[in-house]
């Protein structure tokens, strides 16, 4: 059993105090209504996570990669972004996509890889994307989205489009060479990129202190002349505040910035992982005390903006919506066989026409068990 050495957020500013009151120097100036939206978005993410994990265990979907414990770092950052800004996700940010108004039905269709799936059932579950919501594709290969986001941001800069491109990655990705080339390139060309390192303490089973010999992950940015800050990623208001300031810096200075959000992956890496094989329970228990939902709820209750009824109603609403979505997704047919030949060439060349014809007239088309 191993454990990451970084536990205490020493010197890291926190907005929500243990008693639910606010340290205003590190908190954003937003309305109680907006705070409720932040909390509901986190709650919704957590409810969906729980249900999808159960669906996977029941064998109804193949895979899910969740964000249990990391809701504040994901929603606090995504919801601080402007509507014009782009997000390039890692693979744990479905909450960010939903917060942009992406229909829950579309997300569930993606989980079931059915005919309505936005990526036509060609990928693993949790590989969503949406141009309309300014949200890049999920990258399974570690770190590749970093270079992609930098290229996208550089293009925006050349076109004088005043947007910021945020890119999420984990602590492990900082060892990938895309991190190295991406940060260097952004530093040289002043690309408007917000590098969001979700330091959840574990790269699958590798604790973050065995990932690098540097003091922390933010420190790495100075190698590339990129400004960096660390924030309490389990405090949604502190995260929101840090990101708002970073966005201001990026547009004002025309330079990239990196934020290391300290958080903790309370669940497994994905549904294919059982963390009990490599970490001790008391570590999870310690982090559970800093659960981002508990902290935010305490603050809302302190403001008088939330109570037990609100909580159960909000949960129920998500559960109901989710149940309907799942029902529809399961009833939808799989993608038509013929569609797998789409999107490769603008017009289908003769050899693919021939293959498509063989496939749709072959045994798979006739025997439903082969489908």
């Amino acid at each position: 059993m191993r454990r990451p050495s970084i536990f205490l957020r020493e010197g890291i500013p926190t907005a929500i105090r243990p008693d639910g009151t606010l340290d205003r120097t590190h908190a954003p100036d937003i309305s109680t209504e907006r705070k409720r939206e932040l909390y509901v978005a986190m709650l919704r993410t957590r409810v969906i996570d729980g249900r999808l994990e159960r669906l996977q265990r029941q064998g109804r979907i193949g895979f899910h990669i969740g964000s249990l414990g990391e809701e504040a770092s994901i929603l606090g950052s995504a919801m601080a972004m402007g509507a014009q800004d782009w997000i390039f996700p890692c693979y744990r940010e479905f909450g960010a996509l939903l917060s942009r108004g992406f229909p829950l039905q579309s997300y569930v269709d993606n989980m079931f890889a059915n005919a309505n799936d936005i990526v036509k059932g060609r990928q693993m579950p949790d590989h969503y994307t949406s141009r309309a919501h300014r949200f890049g594709s999920v990258s399974s290969p570690i770190g590749t989205q970093i270079s992609q986001a930098v290229g996208f941001a550089w293009a925006a800069k050349l076109k004088r489009d005043p947007i910021t491109v945020a890119v999420y990655f984990g602590d492990g990705a900082t060892s990938s060479h895309d991190f190295h080339t991406g940060l260097n390139f952004a530093g040289v060309y002043g690309a408007p990129v917000l590098f969001l390192c979700r330091n959840n303490q574990w790269a699958i089973s590798l604790p973050s202190n065995e990932q690098t010999a540097s003091q922390n992950f933010a420190e790495k940015a100075s190698s590339y002349g990129v400004a960096a800050k660390r924030c309490d990623g389990n405090d949604v208001l502190a995260t929101y505040h840090t990101i708002t300031e970073a966005l201001g810096y990026i547009q004002r200075e025309k330079k990239p910035m990196m934020i290391e959000m300290l958080t903790y992956r309370m669940g497994g890496h994905s549904t294919s992982d059982d963390p009990r094989a490599y970490r001790v329970d008391d570590e999870v228990d310690r982090w559970a005390k800093t659960d981002p939902l508990v902290r935010m709820r305490r603050h809302l209750e302190h403001l008088g903006g939330w109570n037990e009824t609100d909580e159960s109603e909000a949960k129920q609403a998500v559960e109901q919506e989710l149940s309907q979505c799942i029902e529809r997704a399961e009833a939808a047919p799989p993608p038509e066989l013929d569609t797998m030949f789409d999107d490769v060439y603008q017009t289908r060349p003769p050899h693919l026409q021939q293959q498509a014809s063989q496939l749709i007239h072959g045994p798979r088309a006739v025997d439903p068990h082969l489908r």
């Binding site: 060892s175 990938s176 080339t181 065995e210 690098t212 010999a213 420190e219």
Partner: protein, 330 residues
């Protein structure tokens, strides 16, 4: 004083050998006797010689494709080196590698590499082997400033820092990555700033004084050998010739080159020798020995038999007893 003089004379001889070797190589290339590419080390000799003086025979050295100087400083004979450039069988890589691919493990030289930055990961691997087997050896890796933007550098340096490997990363910052000044490819000018991101020690200095190179690299080698982990060293230097023989160097002015030649490491060392009481005749006698050695190396390379087809065929796969089944039969 006498000991210092003798040591410095030996260093001067080593640097002069590399300089003359390369000048003759350039001549051979211009005459069409050498094929492929040729990257000259002229102007940077103090680094190869100063660094090699700090190493033991069984330490590991990895270099880029600008590798002749370092191989010779490690002990590769000028005969074997020149024969390699000429593509001849007695060459250090049997005439099959050419200028960019010298390989001489007997002298602790583990290769010149054509892929920018890729060999940093290999050198980290050698350092890991050393630590794992408790060899007490050190792995030294040379690379240019341009390579520090490459993924191989990031991965090699990251692991070296993390596992405290006995490694010395020597960045020979010769001012231009081909024709690109470093400022155009990196927002930070001081490469050693990257060391913090890998949790390793660092040092940065001018490379024209062989004695200083030896002392500063020596400290890093000592740290690595005693288990103190890797060091990232940036040495500011300058190549007097083009990036390769195909480069006319139009990205810099001749004044700039002339200005830098005032700090030619050979000139600097010569002045130091004179101040130590070395006579011109002493230096000349030594230079003449080198001239003879280089002339012999060229003649040897000219007369040597060409690289062999059967050696090439045997050099691709390890020996195997597997007998391929006959083809065309059921």
């Amino acid at each position: 004083m006498a000991a210092q003089k003798d040591t410095l004379l030996a260093r001067y001889k080593d640097m002069f050998r590399i300089r003359r070797f390369e000048e003759e190589a350039a001549r051979g290339y211009a005459k069409g006797k050498i094929g492929g590419f040729l990257h000259l080390y002229i102007g940077q000799e103090s680094i190869a010689v100063g660094a090699s003086a700090t190493l033991k025979p069984d330490d590991y050295v990895f270099q880029t494709y600008r590798d002749h100087g370092t191989a010779i400083a490690r002990g590769t004979s000028t005969r074997a080196a020149m024969a390699e450039l000429y593509g001849k069988d007695p060459g250090i890589s049997r005439g099959l590698g050419g200028s960019m691919h010298f390989f001489d493990p007997a002298n602790g030289f583990y290769g010149g590499y054509g892929i920018i930055g890729g060999h940093v990961a290999l050198a980290a691997g050698a350092a890991f082997k050393s630590k794992y087997k408790k060899e007490g050896t050190v792995s030294m890796c040379f690379f240019g400033e341009g390579a520090t933007n490459i993924g191989g550098f990031h991965e090699g340096a990251s692991l070296a820092g993390l596992w405290k490997l006995p490694m010395v990363l020597v960045c020979e910052n010769n001012t231009y990555a081909m024709g690109t000044p470093f400022s155009r490819t990196s927002p930070v000018e001081d490469i050693t700033k990257k060391a913090a991101g890998y949790g390793m020690a660092s040092d940065r200095f001018d490379g024209h004084d062989v004695q200083e190179v030896e002392a500063r690299i020596g400290a890093a080698v000592e740290l690595a050998r005693s288990g103190g982990g890797p060091t990232l060293i940036e040495i500011l230097t300058y190549r007097f010739r083009g990036h390769s023989m195909s480069d006319p160097g139009k990205y810099r002015t001749s004044q700039e080159v002339e200005e830098r030649k005032k700090r030619d490491p050979l000139k600097v060392t010569k002045t130091q020798l004179e101040s130590l009481g070395c006579s011109e005749d002493e230096i000349l006698a030594l230079e003449n020995q080198v001239e003879e050695e280089i002339a012999d190396a060229v003649q040897f390379a000219e007369e040597a038999p060409p690289a062999r087809h059967d050696v090439m065929e045997r050099s691709v796969y390890a020996p195997s007893n597997y007998v391929y089944p006959p083809v065309g039969q059921p």
